[in-house]
Symmetry: C2
Subunit: 175 residues, 2 copies
């Protein structure tokens, strides 16, 4: 293995310490570039309007209602190429659960409904605060608490970056 | 074929005319007993709040967002045993469609989204107007036009009657 060069040692030391050398500006920039995640659930999200619905199979078996605040709904309806600051998109996730009572009524196994709630995810647009992650803050809440799984949270931006043509947003508006 | 009895002739005459005999109350009841369906799309339904999501397989491959007007949402949240007059529930149906762009981003086939819109169904509670169908008026709209398929429309009440314990409503409120 290569030994650490002096430059790398300096950089590693600075990363955890107080900034008081000529490297200060560069370090401050590095701090800004660290991802910031959404740490509080936006109030009133359950009353927001519908963007669309979603269903993930694979290992997830997840059923979602995707809602947007007024800024989000306005941007979707006006087909804005970029969502303005203040946009919040909420994905309310539930288990994708078969409905025994519906199947009984329909006389066949065909019906799936929202089962137990699993998590709620948010995307908040604030191009300054969340500059490091394309202007979007990502949040993942389970039982009302934000996720502390750094690997999972860091993956949000990486995955959403694949949707650059739609300002990092997967969900299309359902008419 | 049996000839019409005088009683039936009287009734038939009355059916199209002004009620001025002692048969009036019975005749009015008979008129009420004919199913009445919802013939106009309630305005503003796309801005209503979310009740839940639904997915029907079998022959349907249907994806739904179920929305409610303020009366509906209030009744659900207060867990009222009966929905009050003025309640409207809207089921916005789409094709349950695989999403190629999502699957590409996720690296596996797992994602389903709202495809083309197929129909919108409404249930409107008006215990007088829709007395013949449990106080609910049923409506089914395709391309903005109400269904003229009598068999299908008559089937609504029959099927929903199986949900008597929940005032004929299938959809439960998703938290």
């Amino acid at each position: 293995m290569k030994r650490l060069t002096p430059w790398l040692i300096v950089a590693a030391t600075l990363a955890g310490g107080v900034v008081f050398t000529e490297r200060a500006p560069r370090h401050a920039a590095a701090q800004q570039a660290a991802p910031i995640f959404v740490s509080e659930i936006p109030s009133g999200y359950r009353d927001w309007r519908l963007i669309s619905v979603a269903h993930e199979e694979g290992d997830l078996h997840s059923f979602a209602a995707v809602l947007g605040n007024d800024v989000a709904i306005g941007a979707y309806r006006e087909k804005k190429p970029l969502f303005p600051d203040g946009t919040i998109i909420a994905a309310l996730h539930y288990r994708h659960a078969p409905s025994e009572e519906n199947n009984k009524a329909f006389g066949r196994d065909q019906s799936f409904v929202a089962g137990l709630p699993t998590n709620i995810q948010f995307m908040i647009k604030d191009s300054r605060k969340y500059a490091a992650t394309g202007g979007w803050g990502f949040g993942h809440f389970q039982d009302g608490k934000p996720s502390t799984d750094a690997a999972m949270m860091n993956a949000c931006f990486g995955c959403h970056q694949q949707m650059k043509a739609r300002d990092l947003v997967f969900t299309r508006y359902a008419p």
